[in-house]
Symmetry: C2
DNA sequence: CTGTTAGCGCCTTCAG
DNA sequence: CTGAAGGCGCTAACAG
């Protein structure tokens, strides 16, 4: 195939020498930018192809003052990589990867430890990415607010704080909580509980909405159980809680994984779902439908969320001062309620 | 805080000017490399800290001829980002992110379309990453083999091919299949099926091991059902298959998601699991234990797999000619068998 | 111990 | 339409 075996082409200069033109001509030919005669351009492109030469993206980016990558950071999951295993986060990650690729950007998945207060500033100043998407503000609201004040290309998935914070995209968690409450009440449930850690803002909003959606007579009796998120830990928590003799007839869980743990723990204690106990999750992860019984849940549209995140980010990169977006949740009634 | 407001420090040169030293001194101070008096180093580091200055990683990497990133590519999941949602892949991704971060590398998640034959060469030549981890060879065995012949820093998760291919890490899928077969036989199951797409090499090996683990008398009667991998699609496939009147008493599924779909579909057809039908999955994803009934499965140690992948990759980056690794699977008996 | 110098591979004015 | 030259921000010899 190779008529002239000149060794691997390391740089644009090698190719220029080979083609008998200058480096700038090669650059113009390969980037498609700048005026160039049709003939030369075609000839050089063919030559590059034949030798398998591609512009070095790193150098290109340095010169252009960009990186071609968007960082996705998940403060929630920093302590253990395993936290990343939450199906919701992962599904989100997949959609983000697609949306970013469509725009010609790479997704940089970088674990950062929110141990020091300046973890985010430090990451940003390292210049590894042209923008940052944060999934789950966790307890870093203050940090995010401070950084947002002077760094534009950042968007956050999570619960809308009181104005002035970073640009956010998220489900209307409070509305979701109300949906769950109304549904349980319609089912005749009266002894209720919420499973989730309300130190996480999203979960706090779900909890608040849940209470708000209840008649005043029930509101005071709602048990609040601070459950972890992983399958193992939440299952253990639920089992202990049932073992302690708690017998509610309706539970709203902060996530589908927690809800599935509850279903499993209920079975361990011979509680029938949904006859004795209604359980509602949140997220509608793909596996929720496959659970036995199929899980009733409040759906967040993850794909729409990912697209909004990316749209918003690129608007802000483009200089627009685009603001937050909220996505309406939807109750999906299956068989655990 | 800032005693001298000089505007944001854009580069090492600004800081050098501010500190009254040369750029190389600043470089030495901030990288910690090279000889430098304790005093100057401390002074410059303090100054950098005070002004929030950090070395630009992109420029640093260009100079060093590296990128500081490892690409993770998943040819399986390229058509739709959603494919990434398989819990196994996702869990793997989390462990990889951790292992790479520990070594100071970023994880570049880049969707590439294996449409043209040179997708991998093109990606590599763009120079975006210092190494490549491929999760799931899918039908790209030929491409991987060819690239491996001239590109060292690449490792593949999947099924060991006949020698000469790329460096691989993977579970011993055939042994896993045998474990499943022996277990079903011990349970007295005689009418068997395998659910999975044997065009995928890993699944083909699981299928082959399954047959090999069976007494000759049963081997011929094993149904082979080509099932997709996503929850929705595999559930539909299983339901249709039961609806067509098929009534095996033992099924080995290519993945836990497929197994959970089978459990759900069996329930739709009033088949009791495990009384009427034993089902075994593969992977042992975190949710397998939470399924109702908890799923019997063949466990692959995902964390060990991720560590082997990263170890192997860096050995190869370091010039070693390290070869493949195989991980022993383990049967986890729960309640679907 | 510190400064000077020459690039890493590319893009982009500015001339011709 | 094409070439020459400077520089993106940083590091690593080589001098001093």
């Amino acid at each position: 195939m190779d008529d002239q075996e000149t060794g691997p082409l390391k740089s644009i200069a090698d190719l220029a020498r080979l083609a008998g033109v200058s480096v700038s001509t090669v650059s113009r030919a390969l980037t498609g930018k700048g005026a160039l005669s049709k003939g030369t351009r075609g000839r050089i492109q063919a030559l590059a192809d034949r030798h398998g030469f591609r512009l070095n993206v790193a150098a290109q980016n340095l010169r252009l003052g960009r990186t071609g990558a968007i960082a996705v950071l998940m403060p929630l999951g920093l302590a253990r990589g395993l936290q990343l295993s939450d199906p919701f986060l992962v599904t989100m990650l997949g959609f983000l990867a697609d949306a970013l690729t469509d725009r010609g950007y790479d997704l940089l998945l970088s674990r950062v430890s929110p141990d020091r207060d300046d973890w985010l500033d430090a990451f940003i100043r390292a210049g590894r990415a042209d923008g940052v998407i944060i999934i789950g503000q966790a307890d870093q609201g203050a940090v995010l607010g401070r950084v947002a004040a002077h760094y534009r290309p950042m968007v956050v998935w999570g619960e809308q704080g009181a104005g002035g914070g970073p640009a956010m995209v998220g489900a209307d968690n409070e509305a979701g909580g109300r949906l769950a409450a109304q549904h349980l009440v319609e089912r005749g449930r009266r002894s209720l509980a919420f499973f989730g850690d309300i130190d996480v803002p999203e979960f706090a909003a779900r909890h608040a909405g849940f209470l708000a959606g209840l008649p005043a007579s029930l509101r005071g009796g709602v048990a609040l159980v601070c459950s972890p998120l992983t399958p193992e830990a939440s299952h253990a928590k639920a089992r202990d809680w049932f073992a302690a003799g708690n017998r509610p007839d309706g539970i709203f869980a902060a996530s589908d994984v927690v809800a599935m743990s509850l279903v499993a723990a209920a079975a361990d204690h011979d509680l029938r779902v949904p006859q004795d106990l209604s359980i509602i999750g949140f997220d509608d992860i793909p596996l929720a439908r496959l659970a036995r019984p199929p899980l009733t849940t409040v759906r967040q549209d993850i794909e729409a969320g990912a697209h909004h995140l990316v749209d918003l980010l690129f608007r802000r990169i483009g200089g627009e001062d685009a603001g937050s977006v909220q996505i309406a949740p939807e109750l999906i009634v299956r068989e655990t309620s």
